[in-house]
Symmetry: C2
Subunit: 341 residues, 2 copies
DNA sequence: CTGAAAGCGCTAACAT
DNA sequence: ATGTTAGCGCTTTCAG
């Protein structure tokens, strides 16, 4: 038997002994179970207090078959979007007495499956956010992860709740906003190729092209980070576009910074939009026009869905689409003079 | 006995049965234990694979007396500093096969003790970051949290490793930097009053005053958020100071934004410094001069200390001070004209 | 209403 | 080298 140090932790047995009752009674009292003699209850509580007894969580988990813990697997803890989600999940779950175990796959999507499985095995359920995992792998993984809720991925499996952001609509709104301002030459700074969110944006833009044949829209590969946006500045300028749709706020901020370094005025010379509305977006100079995603709400919702699956809480719809909300801020403005293409 | 659904999970017994061996053998094989007949080992592995068997973590934990999980309690998951720490801890711990359980106290420092205790009970150890918790409460808590490592708090207890950032020195470096640039009227935008980090900065500035009697340094209460910095813009301008030491990067960014709105040029009219060097600091306009704190390293170190306490890994020094590194960037510049005080 | 005892899934003595 | 068995700390039937 493993016994790390000399000092034994106080267990239910100690309390029972001290209170002169059986283990069962202590257990009943600790769990606020019905039908315990007030006298005994008091003795037990006293003993527990004196010994500073706290039930061992692992023992409880084994007996109860539940850990009161859920796992959340995210691709990158450095990304504000996933941080926001994590925070939303964590706070909501905490409200219901659940804790959250993190599994950060560090962008190594090959590890995601294993990680998710491990997380699931330690927990009662899982929130899975794996934008780069391929479709087949995802489908194969789902059964073993149940109960789980999926973020920004859809699945044929109707058992699995999934919360998705309508990136396609959001990017169209952003593009339309630029068109309204008179821009006719746009460039999209694309995110990671295999990311589901990027593909959704691309589809949205395809639709936009159909609706706005007069607009010239080009795509530039970039990425999802500051750096990606920063180094894109030259390429963006080379296109001659007056409006830029950055993959997300990070990319937009990087671009803003790169543009600023080159003395390009935003929005005077070029308008820039982001995506997500991370907290920082409000405080860039100029403040960033973006499509706000209620990422904390998504996290919270994710927990609610999972809670339902776990048998607590009340039933709710299992599939939800979150609509981004256009935030008009200082980084976009009227085009200076119509560009002659 | 709790049995949620009808479908039994496959346990070690099933594998043993299928392989026609005892539980013990299966356990030995699964744990790569010495002395198992290759033949049996193969049979066990085959059976495990066929049944898609994965050891139950809770059962293991109970038997082993360890969970391979550590808790991390942070005051606010929305704060980039704590996010960075979390990330550092999480990645480092993952390297050693440990998982991280989050306890976000949501700034409610009264909850921190309970939260920390709960986290500890589910885990093998805890990383505690509770800048606002009062001294007495902290000391009282320590014994029950062992093994733990403390972040940005010191304690008399030499058993407890603690990692602290030298905020006092950092803020002095920042102030000295401004002085070098010719600034003689400075203002410090103070953080949360009870925060240990704020007090350290205040002490550093006291020392700075002694070293630089020629400099006029005032303090303005602010806070630790964007908003705090943003609303401070007017008060800052009212002081007539030409150099501002913001409590942290968030406050500095808020201030930058507030200043920009009022047409105040940074660093032309006023120089602004932050603290922490969060990833965004490099991408503000202008880029933020700040004192860089290697927050990811701190998280990583925290894990290493904890690992040592847990009995793995090699011995390391138990108390470490991290020196912030001055980052000179665009938000600070030469004073326009010497101010006549 | 209470206590004895079985069992959650696994590991580690202890025999064999 | 393998099987038997006794826990790990707790909950919950099942008798009384």
């Amino acid at each position: 038997m493993a016994r790390k140090t000399a000092n034994r932790r106080v267990g239910i047995t100690d309390v029972a002994q001290r209170a002169g009752v059986s283990l069962a009674s202590v257990s009943r009292v600790m769990n606020g179970n019905f039908s315990v003699d007030p006298d005994i209850a008091a003795r037990v509580r006293a003993a527990a207090a004196e010994l500073n007894y706290h039930p061992n969580a692992v023992g409880r988990s084994l007996a109860l078959g539940k850990t009161d813990t859920i796992g959340i697997v995210v691709p990158d803890l450095a990304n504000p979007t996933f941080q926001g989600m994590l925070r939303g999940v964590s706070r909501a779950a905490a409200q219901d007495g659940y804790r959250v175990l993190i599994a950060d796959s560090s962008e190594v999507s090959s590890e995601e499956s294993i990680l998710a499985g491990e997380a699931r095995r330690r927990c009662d359920g899982v929130v899975l956010c794996a934008p780069r995992m391929n479709e087949a792998e995802l489908e194969a993984l789902l059964p073993s992860l149940q109960p789980l809720v999926l973020i920004n991925r859809s699945t044929a499996d109707t058992q699995t709740p999934s919360l998705v952001v309508d990136y396609g609509q959001g990017i169209q709104d952003l593009a339309a906003h630029l068109v309204e301002l008179g821009h006719t030459r746009l460039v999209f700074l694309a995110g990671p190729e295999r990311s589901a969110g990027n593909q959704a944006r691309l589809q949205g833009l395809e639709k936009f092209r159909v609706d706005h044949p007069e607009v010239e829209l080009t795509t530039l590969p970039a990425g999802s980070s500051f750096e990606a946006g920063h180094v894109s500045a030259v390429a963006v300028l080379a296109t001659g576009a007056t409006g830029v749709l950055a993959f997300n706020d990070l990319v937009a901020m990087g671009l803003l910074s790169g543009l600023h370094e080159r003395g390009v005025d935003v929005p005077g010379d070029i308008s820039v939009t982001g995506f997500d509305d991370i907290p920082f977006a409000n405080y860039t100079t100029p403040p960033l026009t973006t499509a706000a995603v209620a990422i904390n709400d998504i996290g919270e919702q994710a927990w609610h869905e999972l809670r339902q699956l776990l048998g607590d809480g009340d039933p709710e719809p299992a599939h939800t689409t979150f609509q981004p909300e256009l935030k008009r801020r200082g980084s976009t403005g009227r085009v200076k003079k119509p560009t002659l293409s």
